[in-house]
Every structure is written in structure tokens, then in C-alpha cells.
Subunit: 253 residues, 2 copies
């Protein structure tokens, strides 16, 4: 759930943060309509007008700062970033023996690729089509509400992938720091098995999130883990997949 993750400019009015609930529901309906019924479906790779500017001081998502300290008698400093804790869920559909993963356009990844080889101030969209910024990931979300981690995981599975999984079917895997160099939010990793009967909607995220479900058989995902492969996915995805292949896949081959 990334309700407040971006500012939305609509009909000339900027809605940021405290968008009221009715409006959110209205947008949700629009989104669902778009996902289910539109003859011109939502296209996550339909991305344009990319430009960048300084981080506003009041960003609710990224709070950078410098930490000063003395270690073993030497004064040092380190640049850090406060970000939200998160949950991630490895989902396996046992009806069709498929891993349920998500794809989405990740601005940070797109910018990362463009800034390595191109000019981010003057993007050549032919050379850098927005689809290069689409990543394959575990279903995941930030912890930004007063619910248990398992409840937040349950909500993400429903919102992003459409499965209404009972709380007691969600297993804890491990808890770790999503990063240690710059940010160090906690990420809690879960595993759950779902069936086709638990599918309640098409998923795809809430509000203006555009998330696409991608299903992989055990053999297909093993192929992706072969040595020498290059991923746009994060290490938590690779760990989750390998954990699944090691601990759960043998039961379903």
C-alpha cells in the first residue's frame, strides 16, 4: 500500500498527502475500472515528461541527514537516509504451481540506468525506453499504519495480487535490514501459499499504483537464478526466490 507515496496532479489541482477518504475511494474505482474494463488498458511503461529536481525539505519518504560520531578516538561522519520499514511476501499459488510476483515501473531504477550511460537532463527515450525501469519483485509494501506486520503483509497480498489469504497461512521467514550502508529500515519477509479460490480481485495496487502480476513456474524461476544473470530486481527478491527454491519448491516438483 503506497497511498501517499506520490503527489498526484489532476485537473490542475495538486493533491498531496491528506487526500480525503472519499476521494481515495473514487480514485480506486477509476483505477479498478481502468484495470478491468478499459479498452485501452493501463500501461505501466507509458511514462513520459521525466524530469528531476532537488529533494524538497518536507519529503515524507526520504529524510537524508549526516550522522557525526567518534569511533576509537577518531571523529567521523556518515551520510544516512531514514526510510520506511517494509514487508515482503513470497507467494506461491499451489493450484497452478506458480510463484506470484509483481512488476512495476521503478523511477529510481530508470534514473539509475539513464544516469549511468545517458544524460538524465535530456533523456533520449528511444535509447532509454521507460520499460527498462520495470522491475520484477516480491509483493511488498511499506509499514505506515498501526497494524501488525502480518496484517500489513495480508493487505499487500490482496491489494497487489488479489488473493485474500487467511492470517494464519502467512509464515514468517526472516527479518533483516533492507540496507546497511545508507538507509537501514527493517524488512520482514513472509511466505504464503494461495489457491485460485482465494483470488478476489485482479490486484494491481491501489490508487495510481500500476502493478502487474507475473507468474513463474518453478522451472522458469530457476532459469532466472543461473550464474551470470543480470537483474533489475533487488537482493531481497533474489533471497526470497532462493529461499523458496530451497525450502518449499521440493514439495511441489
Amino acid at each position: 500500500m503506497m497511498l501517499l507515496r506520490y503527489g498526484v496532479m489532476l485537473k490542475g489541482q495538486i493533491f498531496i498527502n491528506n487526500i480525503n477518504k472519499n476521494f481515495r475511494q473514487y480514485r480506486r474505482l477509476l483505477e479498478l475500472n481502468c484495470l478491468f474494463f478499459s479498452t485501452s488498458p493501463c500501461k505501466m511503461e507509458d511514462v513520459k515528461d521525466i524530469k528531476y529536481g532537488p529533494l524538497p525539505a518536507d519529503s515524507p519518504y526520504v529524510k537524508p541527514f549526516r550522522l557525526y560520531y567518534t569511533q576509537n578516538g577518531v571523529e567521523k561522519n556518515w551520510d544516512c537516509l531514514k526510510v520506511h520499514d517494509s514487508v515482503a511476501i513470497i507467494i506461491f499459488n499451489v493450484t497452478r504451481k506458480k510463484l506470484v510476483l509483481v512488476k512495476q515501473f521503478r523511477p529510481a531504477v530508470y534514473y539509475g540506468i539513464v544516469s549511468e550511460e545517458g544524460d538524465p537532463n535530456n533523456i533520449d527515450y528511444e535509447k532509454f525506453p521507460p520499460k527498462i525501469g520495470i522491475t520484477l519483485e516480491l509483493c511488498a509494501g511499506i509499514v505506515d499504519k498501526n497494524k501488525s506486520l502480518k496484517e500489513i503483509a495480508q493487505e499487500e497480498v490482496l491489494e497487489e495480487c488479489g488473493y485474500d489469504v487467511p492470517l494464519d497461512k502467512i509464515e514468517e521467514v526472516l527479518v533483516y535490514r533492507s540496507g546497511v550502508g545508507v538507509s537501514s529500515a527493517v524488512q520482514s519477509l513472509f511466505y504464503c501459499e494461495v489457491t485460485d479460490e482465494l483470488r478476489k480481485n485482479k490486484g494491481g495496487g491501489v490508487d495510481h499504483e500500476i502493478i502487474e502480476i507475473a507468474e513463474f513456474s518453478i522451472e522458469e524461476i530457476e532459469e532466472k537464478m543461473k550464474p551470470g544473470n543480470v537483474h533489475t530486481s533487488p537482493p531481497s527478491f533474489l533471497f526470497g526466490i532462493l529461499w523458496f527454491l530451497t525450502n518449499k519448491a521440493p514439495l511441489y516438483r
Copy 2:
């Protein structure tokens, strides 16, 4: 190698960035002396005077910005961070059948823990001893020089862990994005096997880095990967360990 990763205040003079080579070598000698011969050895957990302030606009390590774009007709924005690419290396000592890992004090992790439960402006060091910010990780380093990734990996193995491993003994594992939500630098993961004969120095990092080598047997590391465990380590560590346990450990049991 994190030569320029922090500013160092020594004898009232601030040395940041372009510290000349001779001075670096002098500091290196001091550091080696401290690591090898001192009767009061370097203590990574001897951390005090922790305070924090705003990120300076000219931070060479953390460059936050806001990306604006239009996706599927909706104007959006996303807060991002540009950080350095990196390498990480899974090291296995075949002489003693031990995984060679590193421990270090991570300011971002320490701050993360304190800010969750305490007051980072007025730290209670009894309640939050600096050792809670020490993480267990793979040997790793940032890509900040004009060398091949494998050469940078080789250098990190020598600097952090003291093994002079031949370039052709370093295997590529996978390449992925170290994060996708906020930053998205590339991390290249390698594997190498070392022997006691390849050990040339005590490791521990360069300049004022204080890195401690931690060795684990296959059984000890398996214990750490059990469900429900809580780590201060990042997901790249967990993936690297699980990759080792799956692909290499069976040859050495």
C-alpha cells in the same frame, strides 16, 4: 575501500577528500600498527558523541532528488537517491572450511534502531550501546575507481580480509540492483575460495575503517538462516549465504 567515505578531524585540521597519498600511507601504517601491535587494540564499538545534522548539499555519497514523470496520463513524483555502485564477495576459506565474513559499526543501522525506540537527539548509551549497530556482512566495497569490477572485488578481499586471491579465482554470481525503492545502484556479487597461504595481512580495511573478520563454519551459518531469526544484516548477505549453502557448501561438508 572507502578512502573518502568520511571526513577525518585530526589535530584540529579537517582532512576531507583529496588527502594526499603520502598522508594516506602514513595513516595506513598507524592503522596497521594499531591493528597488529597495540596493547589497547582498536575497538569498533568504542563509539561516542553521536549527533546528527542536515545532509550537506555537497555530500559526495548521498545525492537525494525528486523525479517527476507522467505515467499512463497521471503526473507523479518519486523521491530518489543516487549512491555508488558496489561489489560484494562471498569468501570461503577451503583450508579451514570457514566462510569469511566482516563485521563493522554501521551508523545507519545504529541510528535506525535508536530512532525506532529512543530519542536520537539525546541518546541513552546504556540502553543503546553502540555494539547494537555492528552488522555481519559479506566483504564489499563501492565502485569508485577506474578498474574492472573483478579487480575491485580482488582489492576488497585483500583490504578487508587480507587474502591476495588471483583474479581468475573470482567467480561471477549475479548482478542486481542494491535497492529499487529509493536508490538503485548496481551491486555485482562474486564468489571466491581462498586458502591460508593466500593470507597476506590481517585485513581490517584501510585508513580509519575498522572492520573485523568473522569466520563461520557451514553448520554455524546454517544456524543463522533458520526461520524466525532477526538479522542486522542486509538481504544481499542473506542471498549470498544461501547461494553458498545451495551451490558450494555441498562440496565441502
